[in-house]
Amino acid sequence: MALLVIAEHDNAVLKPATLNTITAAQKIGGDIHVLVAGSNCKPVAEAAAQVAGVAKVLLADDAALAHPLAEALAPLLVGLARNYSHVLASATTTGKNVLPRLAALLDVAQISDICAVESADTFVRPIYAGNALATVQSKDAIKVITVRGTGFDAALASGGSAAIEAVSAAAATDLSSFVSAEITKSERPELTAARIIVSGGRGMASQENFKMLEELADKLGAAVGASRAAVDAGFAPNDLQVGQTGKIVAPELYVAVGISGAIQHLAGMKDSKVIVAINKDEEAPIFQVADYGLVADLFQAVPELSKAL
């Protein structure tokens, strides 16, 4: 039995989420092959070959794969998938975009966002915004799975020595093309991989006030997150959103500032190790999950906290 893990990358760097997906593949068991599909992405294949537990790296290097468009990737994946019992990708926007398309082409179900492996055909996944856990068994010959990164530890990025094998990309399609991207630039750690996250909600009241959180984040070496209310109000860009419809995080410390704690937000952060809530409303639902709660005006408490660190 062999499993195929689809590497997530930007043609230069292997994204850390891939390492968690490799651990999930190890729990299923079998030879793990990693597919690096992109353009001029040899360094990514070399990094993937170093990951502990990887048996082989497949490299599909083609200009048509420069951006991970589902229409371009799916034919390549369909060609490869029939040699594998499982195809896995991280439950990132790329994985979520491509894998259901692959599953439908293979006429199999896709299993979204697994957070635990029970056996080679049985997996646990959250439903209803993480308020219930479903244990599901797949009857399909090929299991197509996206993996919730926070459910699995990262595989070691070194210690492996897998061979790299070139595979040819499928013919280009004219269905879709990449036009442009606006990537948010940040000096801080990536949200889904950060050890500490400082997150702001509607209570921040304005975009300018988010600077207060950034100062606190810099003191802690933390990433900055936001609730949907803060994003919708324009206080923070959408890719900082933590929750059911945004990113799922599980840092060691999550500091929720001016966030009430709606179920959709909790779905994105309730697996954090330690949760701190700063809110002036002592009835806010966030206090029901917070390890340490401070009922205070955030405009006083946050600068005071920054100063105390």
């Binding site: 799916a74 259901p100 308020n131 390890d291 401070l294």
Partner: protein
Amino acid sequence: MKVLVAVKRVIDYNVKIRVKSDQTGVETANVKMSMNPFDEIAVEEAVRLKEAGKAAEIVAVSMGPATCQETIRTALAMGADRGILVQTDDELQPLAVAKALKVLCEKEQPGLVILGKQAIDDDANQTGQMLAALMGWAQATFASKIVLEDGQALVTREIDGGLETIKVKLPAIVTTDLRLNEPRYASLPNIMKAKKKPIETVTPADLGVDAAPRLVTLKVSEPAKRQAGVKVADVAQLVDKLKNEAKVI
């Protein structure tokens, strides 16, 4: 151009769900149901395209028990022209829904199909992508902006690092993200008018679709409960607890 919109009836997003004690699923009896929030955004976008003269007709489709009629009526009250109900009391998984939508797409020949990016009950985020695969059409998922021009759509997508714009050939599948638009409320006159709009009812068998679930749910359980912790008096005590008790900073 005809626009097809798929809408799902789900437990209202404000409801705190309860897992059944026999672990077979989630309690749905006597629970408030409403249209999946992402689907409301899909309907709104279709109606805006019609108002802008880009779409001629909007067909709203829902699949499930007879009560899904209400969800279709809501879409009709928002501005859809007619509805199709694929009626079944059996569980429908994304692949089966995509297959049924494929048959409807072949029959209705829409220029654009809009779906929500995910249903807030199964949280699968699959159906739109699967339909695109089955039709061999382009897909633009997690859309926060759609611009139609000469047989193509320019779609801005929400991706992990920020935003990305892609161009897709029509007909295509678009799935909506929260920031695409702000859905309107249906006015009372429009709700009354919607009652007169036609809804056609078919079954998965009529469409020739095998809707049997591919994934068997062995059990549904409650996640581990987090206990409420302590309230601290001030910032100094908070810092002390984080340093000495939790040891996270």
